[in-house]
């Protein structure tokens, strides 16, 4: 009698946990839009037509605010160093309503296959890079974060060296002797 009651309790707890996980998946708009077009109106004012373009991307909120409905402003390291900054000239990536870098400049909210003709990339980490990251030591407030296995990091540009170089290709730093400023220089008197 006692063991059957314990079994019933365990079954109940498992059912609640599974139901909770299923609910979390259903609430994730990135997951939903793979299955149904109705998910579009979670973020857009209406279902955009193919090749339709608008400055506000037909979003319910301001483009710079849309992602923050679910994600943190400091979702990962490096966000604070990019978001809100100017996109370098020549880079053809989407910007927010102020012409500044936003989450969706690097990330495409639509998983691969949702929008015809658009490829969205997962994160690919080389063994050398993985060893580097594993060796890093992070203290609070930093926490280890892995991208979703289902969609990866939802990147517009394939990860590697190319992703950063879309904007940073022109930033080629020369040896320090050549980029030393006047304030770093010292006077050498005639002999």
């Amino acid at each position: 009698m006692k063991s059957s009651a314990v079994a019933i309790w365990i079954a109940l707890v498992l059912m609640i946990a599974v139901a909770g996980l299923a609910r979390a998946d259903e609430d994730n708009p990135h997951e939903k839009m793979v299955r149904s077009k109705s998910a579009c109106i979670d973020c857009h004012t209406r279902v955009p037509k193919a090749d339709e373009h608008a400055d506000d991307y037909l979003l319910v909120d301001a483009p710079s605010e849309t992602c923050l409905g679910c994600h943190s402003e400091s979702e990962h390291a490096g966000v604070l160093e990019h978001v809100g900054k100017d996109l370098p000239k020549g880079a053809t990536l989407p910007v927010d309503e102020h012409g500044k870098i936003a989450c969706f400049t690097c990330h495409d909210p639509h998983p691969d296959g949702v929008l015809p003709g658009r490829t969205v990339h997962k994160s690919t980490v080389s063994a050398g890079t993985r060893a580097f990251i594993d060796a890093r030591t992070w203290a609070p407030p930093l926490e280890r974060r892995e991208p979703s296995e289902t969609f990866g990091a939802l990147l517009r540009v394939p990860m590697g060296r190319e992703d950063c170089l879309v904007c940073h290709a022109s930033v080629v730093d020369r040896p320090w002797k050549e980029r030393t400023t006047w304030s770093d220089a010292i006077r050498v008197l005639p002999r």
Binding site: A127, F132, L142, P147, E178, A185
Partner: protein, 210 residues
């Protein structure tokens, strides 16, 4: 020509004369002019260009150093979040030491501290101060790992196990003749290894007794 105008003319002439040498500055080959001074901060001497071929060969991606796979907890103040993001995103010590100084996996890049640290005294531990030479034994026996944090084992062996006297360890071989000059120039330097009693054992009452 009035005196005011003459002064102005002379100033302009002198500046014009100096300008060509100033433009040639940053070139270490010139006899005189301006010369680039190496910044003390290793981050400022780092060059992506110098590392480009190595990174490509070892498949090191940008975010190996500019790590983006760290989340910043919401529970902390904005100032902490900004500091933490900058710290992990700009790479810094951890990223450089991954190749240049890695006691766990071994170094895959040149390991001379002076390669990046223009003045190694900047990274000298605080306890390496007065009379350190006689005190280091206690620290080394208590925590040998802490020595190996910076020094290769051969650094210890150079003093403790060498039998050939021709190799210089700390002083030049003519130390007895020149130490007076060095001591007057920088008395603190003697104190890094010796107590005052060490000096007084020879120099008593203002005289030399040996």
């Amino acid at each position: 020509m009035r005196p005011g105008r003459l002064t102005l003319f002379l100033v302009v002439a002198v500046l014009a004369g100096l300008a060509p040498s100033a433009c040639r500055t940053l070139n270490h080959g010139i006899d005189w002019g301006w010369r680039a001074e190496r910044p003390a901060d290793p981050v400022r001497t780092f060059s992506h260009q110098d590392h480009k071929a190595t990174f490509a060969r070892q498949e090191i991606q940008c975010f190996a150093c500019h790590t983006m796979t760290a989340r910043i907890s919401d529970e902390f103040q904005a100032a902490d979040a900004i500091r933490a993001s900058k710290q992990v995103f700009t790479g810094g010590k951890d990223a450089c030491h991954g190749c240049h100084y890695n006691p766990q996996t071994g170094n895959t890049a040149p390991d001379k501290c002076g390669l990046c640290h223009a003045d190694v005294r900047d990274i000298q531990p605080a306890n390496h101060n007065f009379d350190w030479m006689s005190r280091h034994l206690v620290f080394a026996k208590n925590d040998p790992q802490s020595c190996e944090g910076c020094h290769q084992p051969r650094y210890c062996q150079d003093c403790h196990n060498r039998r050939d006297e021709t190799v210089r360890t700390y002083h030049d071989r003519n130390v007895r003749f020149v130490h007076g000059i060095e001591a007057r120039a920088n008395p603190m330097k003697c104190g890094e290894c010796h107590t005052s009693g060490f000096c007084e054992s020879c120099h008593r009452q203002g005289g030399y007794e040996k």
